[in-house]
Symmetry: C2
Subunit: 497 residues, 2 copies
Amino acid sequence: MSAYAELEEHFGKAGRLGDAIGMLYWDMATMMPAGGAEARSEQIATLRVIHHELQTDPKLGELFEKARDEAGLSAWQIANREEMFRQYTHATAVPSDLVSRLSRKGAQTEMVWRSARADNDFARLAPHLAETLELVRETARIKGEALGLKPYDALLDQYEPGGSSETIDAIFDDLAGFLPEFLEAVLAHQAEQPEPVMPVGDFSVERQEKVARRLMETLGFDFEHGRLDTSHHPFCGGVPDDVRLTTFYAPDGFLKGMMGVLHETGHALYERGLPAEWRYQPVGAARGMSVHESQSLLVEMQACRSRAFASFVAPMYRDAFAGTGDAWEVENLYRVMTRVERSLIRVDADEVTYPAHVILRYRLEKAMLAGELEVVDLPEAWRAGMKELLGIEPPDDRDGCMQDIHWMDGTLGYFPTYTLGAMTAAQLFAAADRALDDLDGQLARGEFGGLMGWMGEQIHAKGSLLSTEALLTEATGEALNPRYFKEHLRRRYLPEG
Amino acid sequence: MSAYAELEEHFGKAGRLGDAIGMLYWDMATMMPAGGAEARSEQIATLRVIHHELQTDPKLGELFEKARDEAGLSAWQIANREEMFRQYTHATAVPSDLVSRLSRKGAQTEMVWRSARADNDFARLAPHLAETLELVRETARIKGEALGLKPYDALLDQYEPGGSSETIDAIFDDLAGFLPEFLEAVLAHQAEQPEPVMPVGDFSVERQEKVARRLMETLGFDFEHGRLDTSHHPFCGGVPDDVRLTTFYAPDGFLKGMMGVLHETGHALYERGLPAEWRYQPVGAARGMSVHESQSLLVEMQACRSRAFASFVAPMYRDAFAGTGDAWEVENLYRVMTRVERSLIRVDADEVTYPAHVILRYRLEKAMLAGELEVVDLPEAWRAGMKELLGIEPPDDRDGCMQDIHWMDGTLGYFPTYTLGAMTAAQLFAAADRALDDLDGQLARGEFGGLMGWMGEQIHAKGSLLSTEALLTEATGEALNPRYFKEHLRRRYLPEG
């Protein structure tokens, strides 16, 4: 057997094991009774240890050496080998002692955070967060050396392979220069429009679920290869051949639940469309978090908050939820779905203000990692950043710098992928619009075959064959360019501007 | 670290991994869409390979050598070590080539069986079954040598550790001498009683599920540590801290679904009651299949088909299913629940005729393993056995020797555990009845605390500390004695006899 073939077998085993872990996580969030938590964490921890043993197997170093010189590998095989090597480098770079110290400290900080946030007590959290950060800094430094990357980029690489803070800086600075003034203009424009009215109807779980399934089918979701369930926070889990997505049905409204389903279906269709012939191999997996988020936001934001889709879905919603009255008219529903507000909380933000939340976090986490911002100074820096980017200041830390879970367990380098995803979605949608005949008309008829077919070919089927930049360039003709996102926002939110 | 401690760590890892596999099987039977089957079998196969690698790790031989001489081990630790060694011996005895040949051939035979059974075509099945049997014979011979057991007992040991065909022969011969004549008497007695009338009501799934959950709560099931779902065949899966049981709700009746729930709850309570301090260790697991079946049959047959429980449950059923009329009276419901019939199919058999089905299969599989019965002669031997033990003959092989899946993938040595379980249940129930104050009255009030508390102490909490025989002797004062089962049958089915 060639060294490459041996690597494939080895990583295929790790891939299947990783899929099993994914299923156990899905169950934990959807089906598991509370009393099963401890046993589940034992199961998952055991599988993760075995997974880590596979990824750091001492024989791999030599196999990579040999495989590097093997001739006759296809482009897919070469990309697969490089992706394996990237995973191997991440897994082996950091001493296991540091890995477990960060894991323990992160779990502790997260626990402290839960109660400290409830009590709005940043002082109680600060020393724990500082310790966590110290361990993240050490991890980033070591990974950076192993990967030949700047410390921040080494963290970023875990979620966004090949991503660079230099590129992100330029893109986010561009956007940060645009957003505050744009937001003012949008709010002024909105003030001149009729107030959106929340539609009233029968939003029982049964009705919502029925509509959710119908939306998924409209998008092309195949229930022979997946499920829809509920969980506290919507997510997309499972495995490519059995994609499990969830949403949350509010008792007093349908939009959050439905938009959640549309968003997660975007993720799910990406997973379903990954190249089946590379199943379980690193090259067969999704490219990275920004591309993944681009697929969910393409469906949710680009396609399904469009006026075209609103005209398709408004009568369907009205019938399905037994609604009556003007609030169910297309124009009002569209206004509801595209309402913009300055708000404190990222997860509730609309697509205009969301990037400002992300840019703030990106800048702060970079500064903290570089040692340019101390944890004790975080609340003040947060308020200043909110003021600058969003024009409001949080009244407390609970809804300020303590609102997100990410930093607590040491997850730095993840935040930027949300907004990179939003911008990628805009650029991909613009390219699809150029390539397809009357995309707007298709969406107005609830036809997604064209859009998702194009996306399947251009993005889904390519797995991790190309770098994120090359993938986007092949699909759209250029690397990520904030222009498309800004144009999209202008068109949707300042139609007369 | 002592060799024993190292063994504990190693088998603990295998135990957690085994639990993860259990969860994936549960999901496969309850939640998984059809299109997820291939991916799931890949996940499970990968975990099973890793599990097998753990159980056959080359370092184990030496660890067992050392641990054998280590002083100061507690009785639990010694039992744990011996149980580990038993598992290790089973896992290492058979060459992996033979394991995989049997696994492949078994899967193929099972596939042929599905269509051959549908077509009532034993001739098509026979050569495949014969090949499977040949591989089972070889396996049994090799395992027997490794374990110092007769070939049949080596197979039995996989499901019923320490079980012996010599003991079973004596017990089953005793029962086989009793049953045919007893069955005649029961049928004659029944003929003099009023015909049972099937109660009519609203058997919607919603109602059935509500009652099922109420029955489970009555038995002491804790929904913080488990779930109830549906599957094609009822089963009890999951793990001790998160027991997942299922049933099947027929659209036209409630009894099958409810008795299924009661049966599986018996299994579930055993799992829940296993010693938490030995979680993931072999000694912390259930003792074997006959004890497991004793717990389900104790609940279903001994407790819940009693007249006492019928008097508690009849009015509850009537109200819950919106029933009216005399068919919901206690006496009629009890007659329905204890109806005896000569029937062809084991899984539909009542508790009087069930042992006859099992004894037939036990005798035939022993004869086939010993080479005393050829596969081609199986249909004839089956008919003769049915005639002798049950007084009827199957009109075809579909409902004759082709009705069960067990032999198809090479599962021999399992069948006797069903009836050993039934007899164990009777003996345990008799002992509990002696130990408890007015058990009948408790059941008539729907109180299970006494019975299940006694069972928890005597059986559940002991895990695999003792041999099956010692466990039963400690709990009841003697080894398995068919007397209790026969007395139970006489009392219930020939009340005036």
